[in-house]
């Protein structure tokens, strides 16, 4: 699975979450990113049977907020995130790949997952490109995440 690079602010190790009492189960906690408070959500249950665990390999993607997104130079894309900086906790990161716009195909209709936006073919493999805006909209798809 992949996320468009411009949506990402930075990637860090998944450590030092401050747990929040009473928060939904999908919230791993809060982190302090150079003074900003960032909520970390655990996407494990949305795609797999269990939540992502903190290991040597697990990482946190901090996504830009909508304002930061608009500051990206020479932007030729159509992405929305959310009004706040939100982080997502993932098992591991693999690689950076570059994809031409025409290679982004729509997800087949029978794969009906609200977070999936595009699918890209890489040799024998298919990579799903996620839609950050949907993932980060906690109010709308909470049932999927927990």
């Amino acid at each position: 699975m992949g996320l468009p690079i411009p949506a990402i602010l930075e990637i860090g190790r998944s450590i030092n979450f401050h747990p929040v009492r009473g928060a939904p189960e999908i919230i791993d906690g809060l982190i302090n990113l150079r003074g900003k408070v960032v909520t970390i959500i655990n996407t494990g249950l949305a795609f797999e049977a269990e939540k992502v665990k903190s290991t040597d390999e697990s990482r946190v993607y901090i996504l830009k907020n909508n304002t930061e997104l608009r500051e990206v130079a020479d932007a030729d894309f159509d992405i929305e995130t959310s009004p706040d900086n939100i982080g997502i906790h993932v098992d591991r990161i693999a690689d950076v790949i570059s994809v031409e716009n025409e290679d982004l195909q729509t997800v087949p209709a029978n794969i009906n997952h609200p977070f999936y936006k595009h699918v890209v073919r890489r040799g024998e493999e298919f990579i799903i490109i996620l839609e950050p805006q949907k993932m980060l909209n906690l109010n709308e798809h909470q049932e999927l995440l927990s």
Binding site: I5, P6, I8, L9, E10, I11, G12, R13, D56, E57, R59, E71, V72, A73, D74, A75, I93, V96
Partner: protein
């Protein structure tokens, strides 16, 4: 991470292999290439963006990359040091245990010898011969002359004395035939004249010889009672042309342990032959099974002089060895000394271990030395068998020292950090739009270099861990070989015992006369034997019908007398015997003769008139207390780290049916149990060893196994010894 100052094996050390130097060069040069790339990145940042915050962010990233490159360069230097240290430590500990195994092996053998001489000195034929000689001193001189012409019947020598001498010689020959470890055995009168010996070839030279000046003789006469003996360390004796190791004790009137001293008995142990077997063991050989150059094994006595050597050309006996002076003789029992030095032109590892003795037996203060070329410690093992264990699993196993594990983790972490920096760099570059694209190749290069260098290090670490696995497997093989060799040697002794005892006159007389008082006499004699040797539960005599007619322990007598053993394997084997050099053995089983789960019974044929060859009258059966012997031997063969047994380490013997017959760990490897060990470790040829990995009750073990190769006339019972240690 240890300081670079403490590096023992830096890359310029001659022991570092060519491949490792090449790997070091590759890693370091790749890491050095990162610095100009980072510099280029910093320049680019100024070029493409006017935003000071963006510039700083890129600058920070580049500095982080530089930091991790530097850290990886440091790790690389320490890394090879750790790699070589780990190999050195593990080779040293293996060499140490090999040196120890060798001295143990010979010392245990010598301990058995001390029992022998004391027991034999009680033999009637010997003291009777001395008494007759004392009564006819003028005849003694003539005995030796007639001995050289042994067929001369017309001799004027007092025929009673002549017969007594002949009988004594015959009995000494019987001993030598039963215990093949002796070159000769002699009976000496009080004035020092040899009047009987066992070795017919030497008889004309030895008989009549006066040994009154020799220490072993003088000391034998000074022994206080029958429980004392003397051993003369390797030295020259008139009795032989080679250096001798002589055990001696006094002969006493009436064969009474407290009796008056009337003469002496000396037994000449074949030390050289025995040592050669032990010294040549555990030395690697080439295709023609000649020992590889630079490997030596030898013993020195308490004067630091070589007494036996695996290579008489380079390390000759009788001289001080060409090793560091402080190795010549060690001060205290159990001392170990390890050095690196030039030995016979090779840079070598020298390991010395001084004997500890056993229980009350203190030994002769000998030291065992093992010399091997230093390069052998760091050689890559050629075998690269697939044991079905992943490099990752191996790296995390207990075989790998903690420092190496930490380095592995540090490399992993650095690798992750470099990847993170690169990706974050690419994210930053993307934010700069088109201007940022020129950063992409820079970060790509950083990722590639990071991956290739850490990958190379992982490769080296996995190479090291597979070497460690090989070394550990080899060590377990050695331990298992030691375990089976020790038991073989011990069982050989039992075979020697039973053969000799079967010739005792009390036994054949009892069976021939078939009278109660003779059987009682036989039982008494068995009792004396059992009291002198601690390793038997009971000794019994069965007549030709399988009825038990005498035994050593009076408390068992009533029970045994009602039993018939004609269907039992040991008895049937015994009844097939027609020569006194033969013996039989019934493998470990549950026997109704004693209330023990594991009986091991040796048998010898009692032959008519005590002849060496003839009709069998009945069978002598000896019940060996084998668990009490096997236990300590197995304990001594357990894998150890710094003298502590490795957690979960165990050793056990299996019989030909692949059932455990003795074990150090009755919880996990219990007697009677079958264990799911690799098939290669069970299907061994005699004398062969193997190793492997197996899983038992969810735990992963490495295992070394050896099959019996027998020892001298004892051919073994198809047993295998196994030594295991868990690795997870």
């Amino acid at each position: 991470m240890s300081d670079t100052q403490d590096i023992k094996f830096n890359i310029y050390n001659p022991v570092i292999t060519y491949e490792h130097r090449a790997a070091f060069d590759l890693i370091v040069s790749h890491l050095q290439e990162i610095f100009p790339i980072c510099n280029q990145g910093k320049c680019k940042a100024l070029e493409v963006s006017d935003d000071p915050q963006k510039q700083k962010q890129i600058n920070d990233l580049m500095e982080k990359v530089e930091f991790f490159s530097n850290s990886l360069i440091t790790i690389t230097k320490v890394f090879f040091d750790q790699l070589y240290r780990a190999k050195q430590t593990s080779s040293q500990s293996i060499s140490q245990s090999t040196a120890m195994i060798k001295i143990d092996m010979i010392e245990r053998n010598l301990l058995e010898r001390t029992c022998d001489v004391r027991w034999w000195a009680l033999e009637k034929a010997f003291w009777q011969c001395i008494i007759l000689a004392d009564e006819n001193p003028e005849e003694v001189a003539r005995i030796s002359k007639t001995a050289s012409r042994k067929a001369t019947k017309s001799s004027s020598v007092n025929s009673e004395l002549k017969n007594a001498v002949q009988l004594a010689c015959t009995r000494l020959e019987d001993i030598r035939n039963s215990y093949t470890l002796y070159r000769d055995l002699v009976i000496v009168t009080l004035d020092g004249t040899v009047i009987a010996n066992s070795n017919e070839e030497r008889r004309s030279t030895v008989l009549g010889m006066n040994v009154s000046e020799e220490e072993w003789f003088k000391k034998a006469l000074q022994t206080k009672d029958g429980t004392e003996y003397f051993v003369q360390d390797i030295s020259r004796s008139k009795l032989e042309d080679v250096e001798s190791l002589i055990y001696s004790t006094a002969l006493r009137a009436g064969g009474d342990e407290q009796g008056e001293v009337i003469g002496a008995m000396g037994v000449l142990f074949d030390f050289q032959g025995e040592s050669q077997i032990i010294l040549n063991d555990y030395l690697p050989g080439d295709n023609d099974s000649a020992t590889l150059d630079g490997w030596f094994s030898f013993f020195t006595n308490d004067q630091g002089r070589v007494i036996c050597s695996s290579d008489e050309y380079f390390i000759p006996s009788g001289k001080a060895a060409d090793i560091p002076r402080r190795h010549w003789k060690l001060d205290n029992p159990g001392d170990v000394l390890v050095s690196t030095a030039i030995v016979c032109g090779n840079r070598s590892l020298v390991v010395s271990h001084k004997s500890e003795g056993f229980d009350e037996y203190r030994g002769l203060g000998w030291t065992s030395h093992l010399v091997l070329p230093e390069s052998a410690m760091f050689e890559r093992s050629e075998e690269n068998e697939d044991y079905g264990i992943s490099p990752q699993e191996l790296m995390n196993s207990r075989l790998i020292p903690d420092t190496n594990k930490q380095t592995y983790q540090e490399i992993q972490r650095n690798k992750g950090d470099i990847q993170l920096i690169s990706i974050n760099g690419i994210i930053l570059a993307t934010d700069l739009g088109k201007a940022g694209t020129s950063f992409i190749p820079i970060f790509d290069q950083i990722t590639t270099t990071g991956n290739s260098t850490t990958g190379k290090m992982e490769e080296l670490l996995s190479e090291m861990s597979s070497d460690m696995l090989q070394q550990n497997l080899k060590a377990l093989e050695n331990f298992s070989k030691q375990a089976i060799d020790l038991i073989d040697r011990n069982l050989f002794e039992r075979a020697a015992d039973v053969r000799w005892w079967s010739t005792d006159h009390a036994f054949w007389e009892a069976l021939q006369n078939n009278k109660d008082e003779n059987f009682e006499e036989a039982s008494k004699r068995l009792g004396i034997i059992n009291a002198s040797y601690t390793m038997y539960r009971d000794l019994v005599i069965a007549d030709s019908n399988g009825r038990i007619v005498a035994n050593s322990k009076s408390e068992n007598r009533d029970k045994l007398k009602r039993m018939n053993v004609s269907e039992q394997s040991w008895f049937r084997q015994g009844m097939q015997i027609s020569r006194s050099v033969q013996f039989g053995v019934q493998d470990v089983c549950n026997s109704d003769l004693e209330n023990e789960e594991t009986s091991l019974i040796y048998c010898g044929g009692i032959l008519e008139d005590g002849q060496r060859e003839g009709k069998v009258l009945g069978v002598l059966g000896i019940f060996f207390d084998w668990e009490n012997l096997a236990g300590p031997i197995l304990e001594g063969c357990l894998p150890r780290i710094k003298n502590e047994v490795v957690e979960g380490g165990a050793a056990f013997y299996m019989n030909g049916e692949r059932e455990i017959i003795a074990s150090t760990d009755s919880d996990h490897f219990a007697i009677g149990q079958e264990v799911n060990i690799p098939i290669e470790n069970l299907k061994l040829e005699d004398g062969e060893s193997a190793s492997g990995i197996f899983t038992d009750k969810g735990r992963k073990f490495i295992i070394g196994s050896s099959k019996t190769q027998g020892y001298r006339e004892y051919t073994g019972l198809g047993w295998t010894a196994h030594v295991v240690r868990p690795i997870d």
